[in-house]
Symmetry: D2
Subunit: 488 residues, 4 copies
């Protein structure tokens, strides 16, 4: 019932989170718990994963493309040598071209002061600009990730302590980051001043755990302590957990799409239960946009909580009218015309007994390009639905994200290209409605959206970006992979 599965294509019409992070310090089973923690965060990145451990003498690393359970097999030689009491790990989603091994985190560097490993969830908006300056200076980059600029900024900092060097580096970067790092003395958590991505602190067996979501705490049996605050740096060493706030304080802007889709429904983020927020959005949607119908059907799996909330509020029966296959891997079959006509059935099939002859309310969490929605609606109609009403548990997605979410170009976003009628026509429904901005904020616990200083980052709905977009606005080109290829 999680909103993701091991098929990136199944979510081809969803925005995708790019990373999850996990770290634990002082535990004799640091590797095992980190593997489990990453497993619980698998929905935040299914393309690659990596862990670095430290055993008091040496750092050990294993990184690969694939799923956590494939990369960290209990019996593998790679995991056998990863001893240590401290470990940090990362799961990653990325667009295909960039997932070469050297881009897989944790990044690691041998500094003059010792080893340093780094895991990053989020995205820097001035990384390319900084990179150009660093290359001019003689720095040799090993990856195409934005994260590596932080490594070099730390390496060349004139400050002497690790903490000072890190702060020196972070003061130069812009954008979103929730990071876990590790030196030979400490585990370090860092969250950008706006707190765009989540980062929580928990405890297990007296050892601190830093991770993206509380579901990873549950997985390792850790108790939740608190969210790391926006702009906070925590250093977990032998003397305890030390907190620093080196940046000027600003109102936080947590990503509201974490509530809508990214986070696991059993997680609590920023103090709120995700499943509950989603049900409340569904109920709000029913209140805002009622419809005369026979049955509420979710687009599985991500539409299920909102559909339950909608059905309860609307007093309509809830049925699993669409069955989703959890087996599908990447497109594995040659796309001939015959296959293309099968369309969405590779991932979804209609449960015809619940659809024929009925007026159906379809509930989904968002429409990105609209391709999947159109196919599902066709399938529902082919199964005999007399009417199809689409209800979306978020506002229209009109802008790209620059803070760590993979979004298509604006020109490909359905809601950036069409008005409400146009979208309804494009996906072939009898009626269509989205949740309002204020309705969404209300379900998330606010009275309404504060237009001056919005309580969340909602740039994908509003275009209101909370940081400068230096690379984009300066026209800086992305790094071409080809030039780096030979290092692989």
């Amino acid at each position: 019932m999680t909103p993701h599965d091991d098929d990136p294509d199944a979510d081809a019409d969803h925005l995708r989170d790019e990373c999850g992070v996990f770290g634990i310090s002082g535990h004799s089973e640091a590797l095992q718990l980190t593997v489990l923690g990453l497993h619980a965060l698998q929905h935040r990145g299914q393309e690659a994963a990596g862990i670095v451990t430290f055993d008091g003498q040496q750092f050990h690393s294993h990184r690969d493309q694939g799923m956590v359970h494939d990369i960290f097999q209990a019996s593998s030689a790679a995991t056998a040598r990863m001893t240590g009491h401290m470990g940090i790990g990362h799961v990653r989603y990325s667009t295909a071209g960039d997932t070469v091994l050297r881009n897989v985190q944790p990044l690691f560097a041998d500094f003059a002061f010792g080893g340093f490993a780094l895991c990053h969830n989020g995205n820097l908006t001035n990384a390319l600009t900084l990179r150009q300056q660093l290359v001019q200076r003689g720095c040799l980059f090993q990856s195409t990730t934005d994260t590596e600029v932080i490594i070099h900024l730390i390496a060349i900092s004139l400050y002497t302590t690790v903490r000072q060097r890190i702060i020196d580096a972070l003061r130069q970067v812009e954008g979103a980051y929730s990071m876990v790092a590790m030196t030979d003395e400490a585990m370090i958590g860092m969250r950008d001043p706006l707190g765009v991505r989540p980062l929580v602190l928990g405890w297990v067996d007296g050892c601190p755990v830093l991770t993206s979501e509380t579901c990873a705490l549950d997985m390792v049996g850790a108790t939740y302590d608190r969210d790391i605050q926006p702009g906070e740096i925590v250093i977990c060493d032998d003397a305890g957990v030390h907190s620093f706030f080196p940046f000027t304080s600003r109102p936080s802007r947590f990503c509201i799409f974490e509530h809508i889709y990214f986070a696991r429904p059993d997680s609590f983020v920023e103090g709120r239960n995700v499943y509950g927020v989603r049900k409340r959005i569904g109920a709000q949607l029913a209140r805002e946009n009622p419809v005369d119908a026979d049955v509420v059907v979710p687009v599985p799996d991500s539409g299920v909580p909102a559909a339950l909330g909608f059905a309860e509020e609307a007093g309509l029966p809830f049925e699993l009218g669409i069955i989703r296959s959890h087996y599908l891997g990447r497109t594995f079959i040659q796309p001939t015309d015959t296959i293309r006509n099968l369309g969405v059935r590779l991932k979804h099939n209609v449960n015809a007994g619940e659809i024929a002859g009925r007026r159906v309310v379809l509930v989904d969490d968002s429409i990105v390009r609209g391709t999947t929605s159109r196919k599902i609606v066709e399938m529902i109609r082919a199964a005999g639905a007399t009417e199809v009403h689409m209800r979306i548990s978020s506002p229209p997605t009109t802008h790209s994200c620059f803070y760590g979410i993979d979004t298509p170009e604006r020109s490909q976003l359905m809601a950036a290209r069409h008005d409400m009628d146009g979208i309804a026509q494009a996906i072939g429904v009898d009626s269509l409605a989205y949740t309002s901005w204020d309705g969404l904020y209300r379900a998330a616990g606010e009275d309404h959206r504060d237009p001056e200083t919005p309580q969340f980052c909602d740039a994908c709905f509003t275009g209101d970006y909370p940081t400068p977009l230096t690379d984009k606005d300066g026209g800086t080109q992305p790094i071409q992979l080809s030039m780096l290829e030979p290092r692989e």
Copy 2:
């Protein structure tokens, strides 16, 4: 929302179907459609898969351990060479030790009359006895499967036509079989006289399709024609589809567990929609065993339809109080004590917001060993449930299956070892109830169970086996793999 996923361990406490079959004849994309059909049947066997195609001149085969989408990658050399207009395929679940490659179907043999490929869903109850006789005669076996005895019986038959040889062979075997075979002239479907396992006929682009479930027809865009009848042999060749009934007619005994758990909820088996039957069982369960509670929570994913039926009938709210991870591969982490204490959270996590302070009705489809049930109940209680009431959408599972379902020894079946109170105590619930035999039959469309000639095979609940168990009763020992190992 399908009742299975790619983690065999996730279903460690479920019975498991052993196979699914698919065949298509006369289609220019026979391979692609067979791959898709097997993909839709993946829930019937996740350990291995294979396909044989025929291109008018030569047979091509590819078989391997793993999931369909991994074995039949579009880009692989193995699939590239598999040309042909006719293809049959098989997915297989098996106990670990036996899944060596040579046991993966389709089995293939070069007979004097030409090539012959065979896929079998079910299990023969006199295979070992026959095998001993064949080995004495000088037949050399290549696998440890029961299915290979059929191959040898066909090979040594004194009849001249393929059809006669097949009938000659089938008259000598006992047990359950729904099979698809292929010669260089025809695709052949066969179903045992009791019709224990499903087999349906459909059509796509004017070509006949034979497969285990209608969801595979949906996947390839085929329309359902009819179920192959118990005891029927259909031969699909250039002249059309020919039907033969070579066995004495007997009342059918379709496996009722296909309705309860094995089949996909969107399939129609024996004319009935599986999801609908499951919801009706849930409603029947609510009527038979009402309970005063606050919320109905399914054990995902297989308990969901029955829980929806239960909640509707009982007028209680339905909540996804347990979140299931679809990412889990096989046990990938060393089971230290720390890990063991995490227990079932690798697969399931409680959605605590929906559980705390409530009286919970847990709905699951069956209890086999009881291990998973106990852990889930503990987890629900730890999340703050004030009461936990377990409702099972089948009668107590008390006997092993010998017809193609992997069941533990009777001595390990919870319901064979304990009475109702004992089970409730073992799994730690405040109350426990199962669906009655008659209630189950009613939900499946019958008035009640006919004790003289039951309308289904329900031996796992009743011990009423519809065929002789020749191997078991004769004390014939299973084939030891070790003696055959060298052929690998």
Copy 3:
């Protein structure tokens, strides 16, 4: 300095032996010694290898394509499980299409009387004819090897003891075989009545060893006892080594090409040291075909011993004028025109300092198609040789072999298509001479070739085949692999 290396292409213009066999019984390190023995026989087959061991209870097998040292890595799981005190093994060369895994020996079968493993060096000349009869009877073949007919003949024999069944089977086959087999009670050696292929008996630590060449005895520290005699069957069991002669006695016909090229120079076959025979052939060649020249240069590596004999006899200096690379794997580079013009330098390079301005005698062991010879001659001339005289240490190769040696069709044999002048012109030499039939026999220890009953099989030079060629003369077609492919 062995006449073969790990590059089949390097010997593209040589005939190739198809197999070597090794077996040991009663030794606690049966696997290790068998691996070493096969390693010493690697020159007899570089495409695949396999071993079966027996531990008193179970047979264990591992077979794969590739070289012995790759297949039987000390650290591999496959070898770890191969316990036992008895083991037999096989190395195989085969034409590309046929080296599918199921053809790799030892073949293994579970008979009614127990397990049976078989390794075969040689080739049966009525295997296809027998196979057709066996298939008609209902026997299912698993490989395309000639050897499998022996397995089925044993399986269906009406005799009761293993020995009687084996003799019953062997009386029905024609052709060449030196075989080692294993049951759960004995290791068995078998040599065809003509003794075409070698098979020797040795002892190490009190345990009998049966193998193709004495160099394998040297490798495992075994002492040579005797050659198994033509038509002899030896059974090595707990009671000792028992010898049987079930066939009518006939004069032996050992393959003379084993002396010329196949056997390793340090082996003793049929009582004669191979290196010594080769040097004597070289000396005989110098006496029969003297030439006025400056330097004798071998075509490495197989021409070296004969060239040394030639140089000594002729009183000419011997120089390594051609350097051979031992690194070359299979053709690994795309054959563009540029590459093709490089020709033979991938394998050989001229050591120009020893060639320029000299009259060169090139010594090679045979000319098959002549392609390599032509390129080497060109290369020698390009390096500045003033004359090139080719001397071949065997008679002209004019006929195909049907006894276990891979030979091209007659139509491709240089000496079957051209007379002496034609060959000299085709390969571009100033003079060309071969060893005479009688000269060859003399070097091998006979007075001369007895035209009535030749002391060796020399059919590749004379066309005088010592057995019927039933399959060939009866026009029986080879088994088409495609029909069996699906079993793979």
Copy 4:
């Protein structure tokens, strides 16, 4: 007949060259020719290989552990994408622990001025000292190779042109280097001021080729032009081949061991044919240390040319009394006691027919640890030799090499631990003699060794190192792999 093969263990008692380089510019088949060139240099490094090509727009790279023909399969995807008209490549031998992928050359970096690829044969003697300084400055190293310091020195140079930056970098390093580099504009050859390692220039199809040995020129059909001079930098670009001599001129010190063992016998190095030099050393050895014996037997393959020279000079017969297997991979068999007693027969076997009853002169090129020599002598005696006299075609190896040759610690060098009698006793021979220093120089074309300014680097025999050993004398510790491991 080359002095090396694919078994590093076969040369366990030899010094080992660490690298070979090859580059070509302006050729449409740059990749294919580079692959072939590296193949011809395989004897200079069998553990890893890599190539970088440039297609005018992008650099393409493929590097891996293993042999050239395995890494660059014609059909592989990796080679398919390696388009371009310019290519440089590297073969590498290294001690086990260091051959991680990131150490495999060519190294590549994205400088501010563009891409730069570098292949290095030799070893820097102040690399660790420089590395420490660079790390302090903030440079992040990606490998443990000495070569990477050159990359960073170029990156941080304040000069503006590539040529100036390279010269700036090379002026800071000490030791031995023959290097080929590539930018997007030019192929560059560099040789250290002493010219310790070889580097030659040739031409094919009008395109310049830079490589370690002339045998690589022969392989690609290139004609030899000249040796790159000590201290010379050549830049091959569109305008031709430009030569620079940025260093103070010094007398050259070419490595004399290239003549004795490292180079291929068919190569010409520094103008002399290697095979010819080796024969002359053998003759010199016979003159300096005659012996009354029956037969001269080389230790194959590297002892063969010297043994031929010895036999000719001594008037004794030359026989291949030891057969060497070219099949042996790395130690593939568990070293039980039984196996250990087999000793050297895994690699060598005595050709007993040539040894029994004779007084044998064994000729080998060097004795390093002495382990192999002792086993071979034992084996010769066991085969019945009445006397064994060892003659070595080099002076005693008494010192380690710091210029790119893998040598054991001095304490493990036989000749550093024992005097002549001690060595003879240790290896069990009746007499032992080495070539004298002056005799060696004479065979290499000099009158005698000039003790003031020796014409060669012969530090391994004399301890007379031609450069400072900054790292060694400064006590700088080698880089620990473990600290870098996580980048892998």
